[in-house]
Protein backbone atom coordinates (compact mmCIF):
# COMPACT_ATOMS: atom_id res chain seq x y z
CA UNK A 1 0.00 0.00 0.00
CA UNK A 2 2.96 2.31 0.62
CA UNK A 3 3.57 2.84 -3.13
CA UNK A 4 -0.09 2.59 -4.20
CA UNK A 5 -0.36 6.18 -5.48
CA UNK A 6 2.61 5.93 -7.80
CA UNK A 7 1.91 2.33 -8.90
CA UNK A 8 -1.47 3.62 -10.18
CA UNK A 9 0.44 5.64 -12.81
CA UNK A 10 0.95 3.96 -16.19
CA UNK A 11 4.62 4.99 -16.08
CA UNK A 12 5.17 3.00 -12.88
CA UNK A 13 2.85 0.04 -12.34
CA UNK A 14 3.98 -3.06 -10.44
CA UNK A 15 6.88 -3.66 -12.84
CA UNK A 16 8.12 -0.07 -12.49
CA UNK A 17 8.00 -0.34 -8.71
CA UNK A 18 10.14 -3.46 -8.95
CA UNK A 19 12.63 -1.55 -11.14
CA UNK A 20 12.84 1.17 -8.46
CA UNK A 21 13.41 -1.49 -5.78
CA UNK A 22 16.27 -3.00 -7.76
CA UNK A 23 17.91 0.37 -8.47
CA UNK A 24 20.69 2.12 -6.58
CA UNK A 25 21.55 5.83 -6.49
CA UNK A 26 24.56 7.64 -5.01
CA UNK A 27 23.89 11.17 -3.77
CA UNK A 28 27.08 13.26 -3.64
CA UNK A 29 26.59 16.07 -1.13
CA UNK A 30 23.74 16.01 1.39
CA UNK A 31 22.92 19.72 1.27
CA UNK A 32 20.34 21.97 -0.38
CA UNK A 33 20.03 19.72 -3.44
CA UNK A 34 20.91 16.35 -1.93
CA UNK A 35 18.42 16.48 0.97
CA UNK A 36 15.18 16.90 -1.01
CA UNK A 37 16.45 14.48 -3.67
CA UNK A 38 17.17 11.87 -0.98
CA UNK A 39 13.78 12.37 0.67
CA UNK A 40 11.81 11.79 -2.54
CA UNK A 41 13.98 8.91 -3.74
CA UNK A 42 13.70 7.15 -0.38
CA UNK A 43 9.97 7.85 -0.36
CA UNK A 44 9.65 6.34 -3.85
CA UNK A 45 11.27 3.09 -2.72
CA UNK A 46 14.65 3.10 -4.48
CA UNK A 47 16.30 -0.14 -3.29
CA UNK A 48 19.62 1.30 -2.17
CA UNK A 49 20.75 4.90 -1.64
CA UNK A 50 24.33 5.99 -0.94
CA UNK A 51 25.04 9.32 0.78
CA UNK A 52 28.50 10.87 0.73
CA UNK A 53 29.30 14.10 2.64
CA UNK A 54 31.93 15.09 5.20
CA UNK A 55 30.07 18.15 6.50
CA UNK A 56 28.14 18.69 9.72
CA UNK A 57 24.71 20.26 10.18
CA UNK A 58 24.88 23.98 10.90
CA UNK A 59 22.16 26.50 11.80
CA UNK A 60 22.38 28.29 8.45
CA UNK A 61 21.65 24.98 6.65
CA UNK A 62 18.18 24.59 8.13
CA UNK A 63 16.23 27.06 5.94
CA UNK A 64 16.88 24.92 2.86
CA UNK A 65 17.96 21.50 4.15
CA UNK A 66 14.64 20.79 5.81
CA UNK A 67 15.56 17.14 6.39
CA UNK A 68 17.57 18.41 9.38
CA UNK A 69 16.31 19.83 12.69
CA UNK A 70 17.70 22.07 15.43
CA UNK A 71 18.61 19.03 17.53
CA UNK A 72 20.96 17.88 14.73
CA UNK A 73 23.26 20.92 14.85
CA UNK A 74 26.92 19.92 14.86
CA UNK A 75 26.23 16.29 13.93
CA UNK A 76 27.60 14.67 10.74
CA UNK A 77 25.07 15.12 7.94
CA UNK A 78 25.24 11.57 6.61
CA UNK A 79 24.43 10.05 10.02
CA UNK A 80 21.51 12.38 10.67
CA UNK A 81 20.22 11.95 7.11
CA UNK A 82 20.34 8.16 7.33
CA UNK A 83 18.44 8.19 10.63
CA UNK A 84 15.71 10.50 9.30
CA UNK A 85 15.41 8.75 5.93
CA UNK A 86 15.14 5.35 7.60
CA UNK A 87 12.22 6.74 9.63
CA UNK A 88 10.59 7.72 6.34
CA UNK A 89 11.14 4.33 4.72
CA UNK A 90 12.79 1.42 6.52
CA UNK A 91 12.65 -0.74 3.38
CA UNK A 92 15.38 1.28 1.67
CA UNK A 93 18.98 0.28 2.25
CA UNK A 94 21.09 3.38 3.02
CA UNK A 95 24.91 3.40 2.79
CA UNK A 96 26.79 6.35 4.25
CA UNK A 97 30.28 7.67 3.55
CA UNK A 98 31.49 10.41 5.90
CA UNK A 99 34.34 11.60 3.69
CA UNK A 100 34.92 13.94 0.75
CA UNK A 101 34.56 12.60 -2.77
CA UNK A 102 38.11 12.39 -4.11
CA UNK A 103 40.12 11.25 -7.11
CA UNK A 104 41.06 8.20 -5.04
CA UNK A 105 37.55 7.02 -4.11
CA UNK A 106 35.23 8.36 -6.85
CA UNK A 107 35.45 5.72 -9.57
CA UNK A 108 35.22 2.72 -7.21
CA UNK A 109 32.33 4.30 -5.34
CA UNK A 110 30.44 5.04 -8.56
CA UNK A 111 30.84 1.41 -9.69
CA UNK A 112 28.61 0.39 -6.77
CA UNK A 113 25.58 2.42 -8.00
CA UNK A 114 23.39 2.74 -11.12
CA UNK A 115 23.00 6.53 -11.15
CA UNK A 116 24.93 9.41 -9.53
CA UNK A 117 23.12 12.52 -8.28
CA UNK A 118 25.18 15.70 -7.96
CA UNK A 119 24.32 17.66 -4.83
CA UNK A 120 27.67 19.49 -4.69
CA UNK A 121 28.39 23.19 -4.61
CA UNK A 122 31.78 23.58 -6.29
CA UNK A 123 33.32 23.19 -9.73
CA UNK A 124 36.16 20.97 -8.54
CA UNK A 125 33.75 18.22 -7.47
CA UNK A 126 31.45 18.64 -10.47
CA UNK A 127 34.35 17.97 -12.87
CA UNK A 128 35.43 15.07 -10.65
CA UNK A 129 31.92 13.55 -10.79
CA UNK A 130 31.90 14.05 -14.56
CA UNK A 131 35.22 12.34 -15.15
CA UNK A 132 34.56 9.45 -12.75
CA UNK A 133 31.13 8.87 -14.36
CA UNK A 134 32.75 8.64 -17.81
CA UNK A 135 35.25 6.09 -16.48
CA UNK A 136 32.66 4.11 -14.50
CA UNK A 137 30.15 4.42 -17.38
CA UNK A 138 27.36 5.83 -15.20
CA UNK A 139 24.84 8.58 -15.92
CA UNK A 140 24.69 11.53 -13.55
CA UNK A 141 22.04 14.09 -12.79
CA UNK A 142 23.53 17.56 -12.48
CA UNK A 143 22.17 20.72 -10.87
CA UNK A 144 23.68 24.05 -9.87
CA UNK A 145 22.35 27.27 -8.45
CA UNK A 146 23.26 30.93 -8.61
CA UNK A 147 21.00 33.04 -6.37
CA UNK A 148 17.50 32.71 -7.89
CA UNK A 149 18.58 30.77 -10.98
CA UNK A 150 19.19 27.08 -11.47
CA UNK A 151 20.64 24.76 -14.10
CA UNK A 152 19.76 21.08 -14.42
CA UNK A 153 20.79 18.38 -16.90
CA UNK A 154 21.63 14.69 -17.21
CA UNK A 155 25.14 13.84 -18.37
CA UNK A 156 26.83 10.72 -19.71
CA UNK A 157 23.44 9.10 -20.32
CA UNK A 158 23.30 6.61 -23.21
CA UNK A 159 26.28 8.08 -25.03
CA UNK A 160 25.02 11.65 -24.52
CA UNK A 161 27.05 14.80 -23.77
CA UNK A 162 29.11 15.28 -20.61
CA UNK A 163 29.57 18.26 -18.31
CA UNK A 164 32.83 19.06 -20.12
CA UNK A 165 30.84 19.26 -23.39
CA UNK A 166 28.77 22.04 -21.78
CA UNK A 167 31.61 23.81 -19.95
CA UNK A 168 35.01 22.72 -21.36
CA UNK A 169 36.63 25.60 -19.53
CA UNK A 170 36.22 26.12 -15.79
CA UNK A 171 36.08 29.45 -14.00
CA UNK A 172 37.70 30.85 -10.91
CA UNK A 173 34.45 32.49 -9.94
CA UNK A 174 33.20 29.75 -7.66
CA UNK A 175 30.44 31.46 -5.77
CA UNK A 176 28.58 29.31 -3.26
CA UNK A 177 25.07 29.72 -1.86
CA UNK A 178 26.70 30.53 1.49
CA UNK A 179 28.26 33.53 -0.20
CA UNK A 180 25.49 34.87 -2.45
CA UNK A 181 22.43 33.84 -0.50
CA UNK A 182 19.63 31.60 -1.75
CA UNK A 183 15.97 31.02 -0.98
CA UNK A 184 15.41 27.60 0.55
CA UNK A 185 12.90 26.72 -2.14
CA UNK A 186 15.42 27.08 -4.99
CA UNK A 187 17.61 24.05 -4.19
CA UNK A 188 14.37 22.40 -2.99
CA UNK A 189 12.91 22.71 -6.50
CA UNK A 190 16.14 21.78 -8.29
CA UNK A 191 16.89 18.81 -6.01
CA UNK A 192 13.33 17.55 -6.44
CA UNK A 193 13.66 17.86 -10.23
CA UNK A 194 16.90 15.88 -10.04
CA UNK A 195 15.02 13.14 -8.18
CA UNK A 196 12.40 13.21 -10.97
CA UNK A 197 15.13 12.68 -13.61
CA UNK A 198 16.48 9.74 -11.59
CA UNK A 199 13.00 8.16 -11.44
CA UNK A 200 12.49 8.71 -15.19
CA UNK A 201 15.85 7.07 -16.00
CA UNK A 202 15.03 4.03 -13.86
CA UNK A 203 11.47 3.72 -15.17
CA UNK A 204 12.38 4.49 -18.78
CA UNK A 205 9.62 7.09 -18.72
CA UNK A 206 9.26 10.42 -20.49
CA UNK A 207 12.10 12.45 -22.00
CA UNK A 208 15.36 12.50 -20.07
CA UNK A 209 17.13 15.89 -19.90
CA UNK A 210 20.23 14.41 -21.59
CA UNK A 211 21.59 16.77 -24.25
CA UNK A 212 19.46 19.53 -22.79
CA UNK A 213 20.23 22.09 -20.12
CA UNK A 214 17.15 23.36 -18.33
CA UNK A 215 17.47 26.87 -16.93
CA UNK A 216 15.12 27.93 -14.18
CA UNK A 217 14.52 31.41 -12.86
CA UNK A 218 12.54 31.42 -9.62
CA UNK A 219 11.86 35.16 -9.77
CA UNK A 220 10.77 35.59 -13.39
CA UNK A 221 9.11 32.18 -13.67
CA UNK A 222 10.62 31.96 -17.17
CA UNK A 223 12.29 28.62 -17.82
CA UNK A 224 14.35 27.74 -20.88
CA UNK A 225 15.90 24.65 -22.40
CA UNK A 226 19.20 24.92 -24.29
CA UNK A 227 20.45 22.07 -26.48
CA UNK A 228 23.96 20.80 -25.70
CA UNK A 229 26.02 19.08 -28.38
CA UNK A 230 28.47 16.32 -27.62
CA UNK A 231 32.15 17.26 -27.88
CA UNK A 232 33.65 13.83 -28.44
CA UNK A 233 37.20 15.06 -27.78
CA UNK A 234 36.21 16.13 -24.24
CA UNK A 235 34.95 12.61 -23.47
CA UNK A 236 37.82 10.76 -25.20
CA UNK A 237 40.32 12.89 -23.26
CA UNK A 238 38.98 11.48 -19.98
CA UNK A 239 38.79 7.91 -21.29
CA UNK A 240 42.45 8.14 -22.33
CA UNK A 241 43.93 10.17 -19.47
CA UNK A 242 41.64 9.29 -16.56
CA UNK A 243 40.31 11.88 -14.14
CA UNK A 244 41.73 15.35 -14.83
CA UNK A 245 41.76 17.24 -11.53
CA UNK A 246 40.30 20.72 -11.66
CA UNK A 247 41.96 22.44 -8.78
CA UNK A 248 42.06 26.15 -8.69
CA UNK A 249 45.15 26.98 -6.63
CA UNK A 250 46.54 30.49 -6.68
CA UNK A 251 49.35 32.48 -5.10
CA UNK A 252 48.88 35.71 -3.19
CA UNK A 253 50.38 38.78 -4.82
CA UNK A 254 51.94 40.23 -1.65
CA UNK A 255 53.72 37.58 0.44
CA UNK A 256 55.03 40.09 3.00
CA UNK A 257 51.60 40.32 4.61
CA UNK A 258 49.84 37.79 6.82
CA UNK A 259 46.34 36.64 5.80
CA UNK A 260 43.44 34.78 7.37
CA UNK A 261 41.24 32.81 4.91
CA UNK A 262 37.87 32.15 6.58
CA UNK A 263 36.32 30.40 3.57
CA UNK A 264 35.17 26.79 3.80
CA UNK A 265 37.68 24.28 2.39
CA UNK A 266 35.64 23.59 -0.76
CA UNK A 267 35.60 27.26 -1.84
CA UNK A 268 37.77 28.08 -4.84
CA UNK A 269 40.34 29.29 -5.68
CA UNK A 270 42.50 27.82 -2.92
CA UNK A 271 45.59 29.79 -1.94
CA UNK A 272 48.90 27.97 -1.48
CA UNK A 273 51.08 30.02 0.87
CA UNK A 274 52.46 29.76 4.38
CA UNK A 275 51.44 33.42 4.78
CA UNK A 276 47.77 32.37 4.74
CA UNK A 277 46.12 30.95 7.85
CA UNK A 278 43.19 28.81 6.77
CA UNK A 279 40.47 28.66 9.40
CA UNK A 280 36.98 28.11 7.92
CA UNK A 281 34.24 30.23 9.46
CA UNK A 282 32.49 27.05 10.65
CA UNK A 283 35.55 26.21 12.83
CA UNK A 284 36.56 29.73 13.80
CA UNK A 285 35.01 29.75 17.26
CA UNK A 286 37.03 26.68 18.35
CA UNK A 287 40.30 27.82 16.77
CA UNK A 288 40.62 31.45 17.91
CA UNK A 289 43.90 30.77 19.74
CA UNK A 290 45.56 30.01 16.37
CA UNK A 291 45.18 33.66 15.33
CA UNK A 292 48.13 35.81 16.48
CA UNK A 293 47.36 39.19 18.04
CA UNK A 294 50.78 40.81 17.60
CA UNK A 295 50.93 40.98 13.82
CA UNK A 296 48.58 42.78 11.39
CA UNK A 297 46.35 40.29 9.57
CA UNK A 298 44.23 40.74 6.44
CA UNK A 299 41.04 38.69 6.66
CA UNK A 300 39.35 37.54 3.46
CA UNK A 301 36.49 35.44 2.10
CA UNK A 302 34.99 35.18 -1.41
CA UNK A 303 33.45 38.66 -1.63
CA UNK A 304 34.48 40.51 1.54
CA UNK A 305 31.07 40.21 3.22
CA UNK A 306 31.66 37.33 5.63
CA UNK A 307 35.19 38.49 6.43
CA UNK A 308 33.88 41.95 7.37
CA UNK A 309 31.53 40.38 9.91
CA UNK A 310 34.40 38.28 11.27
CA UNK A 311 36.69 41.30 11.65
CA UNK A 312 33.97 43.29 13.46
CA UNK A 313 33.01 40.39 15.71
CA UNK A 314 36.55 39.41 16.71
CA UNK A 315 37.36 43.01 17.50
CA UNK A 316 34.22 43.60 19.58
CA UNK A 317 34.09 40.30 21.44
CA UNK A 318 37.65 38.95 21.55
CA UNK A 319 39.86 42.06 21.51
CA UNK A 320 41.48 41.46 18.14
CA UNK A 321 42.66 44.94 17.12
CA UNK A 322 45.08 43.72 14.46
CA UNK A 323 42.56 42.53 11.86
CA UNK A 324 41.63 44.29 8.63
CA UNK A 325 39.03 43.20 6.08
CA UNK A 326 39.92 42.59 2.41
CA UNK A 327 37.03 44.54 0.86
CA UNK A 328 36.93 42.93 -2.57
CA UNK A 329 37.42 39.33 -1.45
CA UNK A 330 39.92 36.72 -2.58
CA UNK A 331 40.11 37.87 -6.23
CA UNK A 332 41.76 41.14 -5.20
CA UNK A 333 44.75 39.55 -3.44
CA UNK A 334 45.78 36.77 -5.82
CA UNK A 335 48.37 36.78 -8.57
CA UNK A 336 47.09 36.93 -12.15
Amino acid sequence: MRYDRQIKLNEVGASGQEKLRQASVLIVGVGGLGCPAAQFLVGAGIGRIGLIDYDRVSLSNLHRQVLFSEEDLGKPKVHVAKHKLQQLNSEVEIDIFEEPLSIENAENLFQMYDIILDGTDNFETKYLINDACILAEKPWVYASIYKNEGQISVFNYQDGPSYRCLFPQTTRQNISCEETGVLGVTPGILGTMQAAEVLKIILGAGTILSGNLKLINILSGKDQILKISKRTEEIEKIKNQGIIPVSIHCRISDETKLYLDIREIFEQPRISSDRVLQIPLSELEDRLEEIPKQEDILVFCQSGKRSKKVVDLLKAEFNFNNLKNVEGGVETIIDG
Binding site: T120, Y146, S176
Partner: protein, 78 residues
Protein backbone atom coordinates in the same frame (compact mmCIF):
# COMPACT_ATOMS: atom_id res chain seq x y z
CA UNK B 1 20.42 43.31 -37.93
CA UNK B 2 18.67 43.02 -34.59
CA UNK B 3 19.64 40.40 -32.04
CA UNK B 4 17.74 39.37 -28.90
CA UNK B 5 20.26 38.85 -26.11
CA UNK B 6 19.59 36.97 -22.86
CA UNK B 7 21.90 37.04 -19.86
CA UNK B 8 22.12 34.53 -17.01
CA UNK B 9 23.69 34.41 -13.54
CA UNK B 10 26.61 36.73 -12.89
CA UNK B 11 26.49 38.00 -16.48
CA UNK B 12 22.97 39.33 -15.92
CA UNK B 13 24.29 41.05 -12.81
CA UNK B 14 27.24 42.58 -14.67
CA UNK B 15 24.87 43.78 -17.41
CA UNK B 16 22.23 44.95 -14.94
CA UNK B 17 19.53 43.25 -17.05
CA UNK B 18 18.39 39.79 -18.11
CA UNK B 19 17.68 40.68 -21.73
CA UNK B 20 18.13 43.36 -24.37
CA UNK B 21 17.75 43.94 -28.09
CA UNK B 22 20.96 44.92 -29.90
CA UNK B 23 21.32 46.54 -33.31
CA UNK B 24 24.59 45.31 -34.88
CA UNK B 25 26.16 45.26 -38.33
CA UNK B 26 25.17 42.30 -40.52
CA UNK B 27 28.67 40.83 -40.59
CA UNK B 28 29.01 40.26 -36.85
CA UNK B 29 29.92 36.69 -35.83
CA UNK B 30 29.07 35.02 -32.54
CA UNK B 31 32.66 35.36 -31.29
CA UNK B 32 32.78 39.06 -32.16
CA UNK B 33 29.48 39.64 -30.37
CA UNK B 34 30.83 37.84 -27.29
CA UNK B 35 34.05 39.89 -27.26
CA UNK B 36 32.13 43.14 -27.66
CA UNK B 37 29.67 42.33 -24.84
CA UNK B 38 32.45 41.08 -22.55
CA UNK B 39 34.26 44.40 -22.94
CA UNK B 40 31.11 46.46 -22.69
CA UNK B 41 30.02 44.94 -19.39
CA UNK B 42 33.53 44.08 -18.10
CA UNK B 43 32.54 40.43 -17.75
CA UNK B 44 35.19 38.32 -16.01
CA UNK B 45 36.46 34.91 -17.10
CA UNK B 46 34.99 35.10 -20.64
CA UNK B 47 36.51 31.75 -21.65
CA UNK B 48 34.18 29.93 -19.26
CA UNK B 49 31.05 31.55 -20.75
CA UNK B 50 29.04 29.51 -23.24
CA UNK B 51 26.74 30.95 -25.89
CA UNK B 52 23.49 29.55 -27.23
CA UNK B 53 21.99 30.67 -30.53
CA UNK B 54 18.26 30.07 -30.80
CA UNK B 55 18.36 27.71 -27.80
CA UNK B 56 21.31 25.65 -29.01
CA UNK B 57 24.87 25.94 -27.68
CA UNK B 58 27.12 27.10 -30.50
CA UNK B 59 30.56 28.51 -31.10
CA UNK B 60 32.06 30.48 -33.95
CA UNK B 61 29.10 30.85 -36.30
CA UNK B 62 27.61 33.66 -38.37
CA UNK B 63 24.53 35.38 -36.99
CA UNK B 64 21.36 36.47 -38.72
CA UNK B 65 18.62 39.00 -38.04
CA UNK B 66 16.29 38.03 -35.19
CA UNK B 67 18.64 35.46 -33.62
CA UNK B 68 18.28 34.92 -29.88
CA UNK B 69 21.66 34.70 -28.15
CA UNK B 70 22.00 33.45 -24.57
CA UNK B 71 25.11 34.22 -22.47
CA UNK B 72 25.53 31.36 -20.03
CA UNK B 73 28.08 31.27 -17.20
CA UNK B 74 28.85 28.10 -15.22
CA UNK B 75 27.07 27.93 -11.85
CA UNK B 76 28.30 25.89 -8.92
CA UNK B 77 26.00 26.56 -5.96
CA UNK B 78 23.95 23.86 -4.35
Amino acid sequence: MKLNIKYFGIIAEAAGKTEEVLEVSDEVSLDELKQERVQNYKIQDPDSIQLAVNHELKFNIKLKDGDEIAFLPPFAGG
